[in-house]
């Protein structure tokens, strides 16, 4: 493909996939070493099929939520409301199924519609009124938390449809619960849309230079609103998945996904396509983080290690991308003399 084209264009040039090889696949190697290390340290518990099935299966919700984040991050906007959106939509699933007796499919559609609407509202406030997305989504996220407590009377609601539970965690393919495969499918779809369509390129152009995009005829407002709406939509999917995974909905636990999702998005931007938020990088980052934490827990570490690990990973990811950016800058200056 593009590798072949390259060699045709310039025979002396290396094929594209080898460019920056070390940098692009560094995280993958670190992941492998991490897994190897834990496997050697805890061969009976860590290096087991069951454990790997858990690693891949248990954190698919985080994967979906991280995918929700990278869309607006690519266009240069934050969405700090994704975790609250997930909490609200999972609660909508539980309330409408359990309290109102709605059938599964309409409930799911309603929850996803609610998530999408929240994204749209974020987008309209951020873009049409022109307020920093950081503040808007922080505020909207807090409102959503309030709404969740209000509509649920701060209860944990149990009794989510078994069909949903079956199709998220119980049913397995290759030993891994369906939820993981949904996350993988989403990763593939986002990879295709972001990398292989004009729409995906527009997201990137808007994020890299709003003026440039605007003067190139791109409807910047629409792209940004669309990205925040897409983020809400995917967060809604994550909420439905979360309700299915737990079989219940509680008003707070979903909120703890926010930081890990950011850590995964930023860590993901240091790999595969360094310097860009990208689906495969995010995918690797999620499972790198989960593998690490699972290992630490099996080594007997306290639960606070989770926070140390996620927080540390976020900071290290941001520092690393900044260092990479500076190195490229220096290289660029050197080229220009």
């Amino acid at each position: 493909m593009s590798g072949i084209q390259q060699t045709v264009a310039g025979a002396a040039r290396r094929p594209a996939w080898t460019k920056n090889f070390g940098q692009r696949f560094a995280l993958l190697f670190v992941w492998a070493i991490l897994v190897l290390g834990f496997s050697l340290a805890r061969p009976d518990t860590y290096f087991t099929t069951g454990n790997f099935q858990t690693i891949f299966g248990s954190q698919a919700v985080l994967l979906i939520l991280a995918m929700a984040l990278i869309v607006p991050l690519t266009t240069g906007d934050f969405d700090l409301s994704v975790a609250a959106n997930l909490t609200l939509t999972s609660m909508v699933v539980a309330i409408f199924q359990v309290d109102h007796g709605w059938p599964l499919l309409p409930t799911m559609l309603l929850a996803i519609a609610v998530g999408t609407l929240i994204g749209l509202i974020n987008g309209l406030i951020v873009v049409k009124i022109g307020i920093d997305s950081f503040i808007v989504t922080l505020g909207v996220g807090t409102i959503l938390q309030g709404v969740v407590l209000w509509i649920s009377d701060a209860r944990t609601i149990t009794g989510v449809s078994n069909t949903l539970i079956d199709w998220t965690v119980t049913n397995r393919f290759l030993g891994i619960s369906m939820l993981f495969w949904y996350g993988l499918l989403l990763t593939v779809i986002l990879w295709y849309v972001m990398g292989r369509t004009a729409l995906g390129k527009r997201l990137l152009f808007v994020g890299r230079g709003r003026n440039v995009a605007l003067l190139s005829g791109i409807n910047v407002d629409r792209v940004r609103i669309g990205a925040l709406t897409a983020s809400g939509f995917i967060a809604g999917l994550a909420g439905v998945a979360y309700a299915g995974m737990l079989g219940t909905a509680d008003p707070t636990s979903g909120l703890s996904f926010l930081l890990p999702a950011f850590a995964a998005a930023y860590l993901g931007a240091t790999t595969i396509q360094p310097g860009r938020f990208n689906p495969w990088g995010t995918f690797i980052a999620v499972f790198f983080l989960v593998s690490g934490i699972t290992g630490l827990q099996l080594l007997g570490a306290d639960s606070f290690v989770q926070q140390l690990f996620y927080g540390g990973a976020l900071i290290i990811a941001v520092v690393m991308s900044e260092l990479v950016r500076r190195r490229n800058e220096r290289r660029r200056i050197a080229v220009n003399g």
């Binding site: 593009s2 084209q5 264009a9 004009a198 990137l204 005829g217 310097g275 490229n328 660029r332 220009n336």
Partner: protein, 526 residues
Amino acid sequence: MMPPPAPSPVAPRLKLSGLRKSFGGSHALKGVDLEVRAGEIHGLLGENGSGKSTLIKILNAFHQPDAGTLEVDGRPVDLPLAPGRFQDLGLSFVHQDLGLIRELTVLENLRLVEWGSAHDLALSARKERERANRIFEEYGLSHLDPDSALTSISETDAALLAIVRSVMGIADSGGGLLVLDEPTVFLPREGITRLFDMVRTVAARGVSVLFVSHDIDEVLELTDAVTVLRDGAVFGNARTADMDKAGLVEMIIGRHLAEAAPLRDRGRQAQARGGASVRGLRGPRLRGIDFELNDGEILGLTGLMGSGFEDVPYSLFGAKPVSEGVLARDGRTTDLTRLSPGAALKSGMALLPSDRQRDGALGGVSVLDNLMMQVMQGYRPWRLDNRRMTERANELLEEFDVRPRDPDAVFGALSGGNQQKVLLAKWLEAKPGILLLHEPTQGVDIGAREQIFELLGRAAENGLAVVCASSDSEQLAQICDRVLIIARGEVSREMSGAELTKEEISSQVLQSVTLSEMEQFQEEAM
């Protein structure tokens, strides 16, 4: 405080000798001497690139000179100046952007510098306000309320506030030098009169003023003496009273030996086919611009900085606010007040902005992405045809002689000239009917500059109409069929044919102000 060692009474306030500065291989200053007497208003004139701003930036310690000496009141001062040292020497600067902070109040802006370095923690709001009122009284600004927001005062008052802030530290000592760097370009005529009054008040207190300007009329009206820079050297200096406008224009422009021949056969223009016309274009700095634009024509727009000529391309593309104006083309009329860049692009216009980093291109993505940005829809938008896009990009890089010929190269790693060639290719690839340019060869080396001119010429021969807004007279003389001079937001003159030489364009630009002012006067009188 100890009295300073008595300076000789005839010593100039500021004396620069043999100032040299080069950037890379090019000499910005080639041994400049400048003398400003105590209490004198001294004009510093010269075209863009003559070395004026380099000289100012050496005085405010931004650049380090390669050679040269500085004396203040007869006492030698070491160059380069340490940052901040100019304040101790009584030098003070007001730049075109004024250095005011919009979000603060008048008082906060006035005291910005002192508060920034104050050690006393408690400030008496009442005393500060009284002091500000006293100072405003002294300089004829008593109508200003120290507590009002900066955004609520006029442009003129803001400029005067910036000047007062600069002189309040130095005027008390009965000395000092105020540097005004193009302070008038954004002011209305009435504001310029008030600014001049204030400059005279300041000078009457013994402060010397170095007045940097493009505008010959202003310099003739205000200054006691002038120094003219040309190509990094002092071309002459004189008492203003001995000079007239024609003499100054000649000093500034001079006669260039190597005149670049125009690239284009202007006779061809006679057979003007259809085209576009712009009617009544008004915006923040534009006061009703009309012109015709023929297919196959390169139309230049120029004027003094701030005259509004640089707004025209953006206004025609929907990228700057327009309050009134229409564009008629091919029997269709476009309302420019409601045009968006997307719609402009669809109607066959393209804009190559001057600020490549901010508006023109994405430095961090590939040449391919930059090239194909607006034509991507044509390459199977839902399953992008990377092979065909790369093929087309390779053809374009060949045709526009971009080096390296690598569509995957990061755009920001290219030289300025190659970047501009990529952007020209990008816009011509969108097959526009009208190409709008703003300073198309800024930051572009000589070789690429000639190539860009050739590419533009070829595109025009194929029927493209080009609007080129530029302050570079040489470039306009080389590529344009006609040039419109804009002054204070209106077309003040149209030039074509044999008139289109670098000297003639520069001279008309420098003389454009009074002409349009008169027209404006008449218009307002009617």
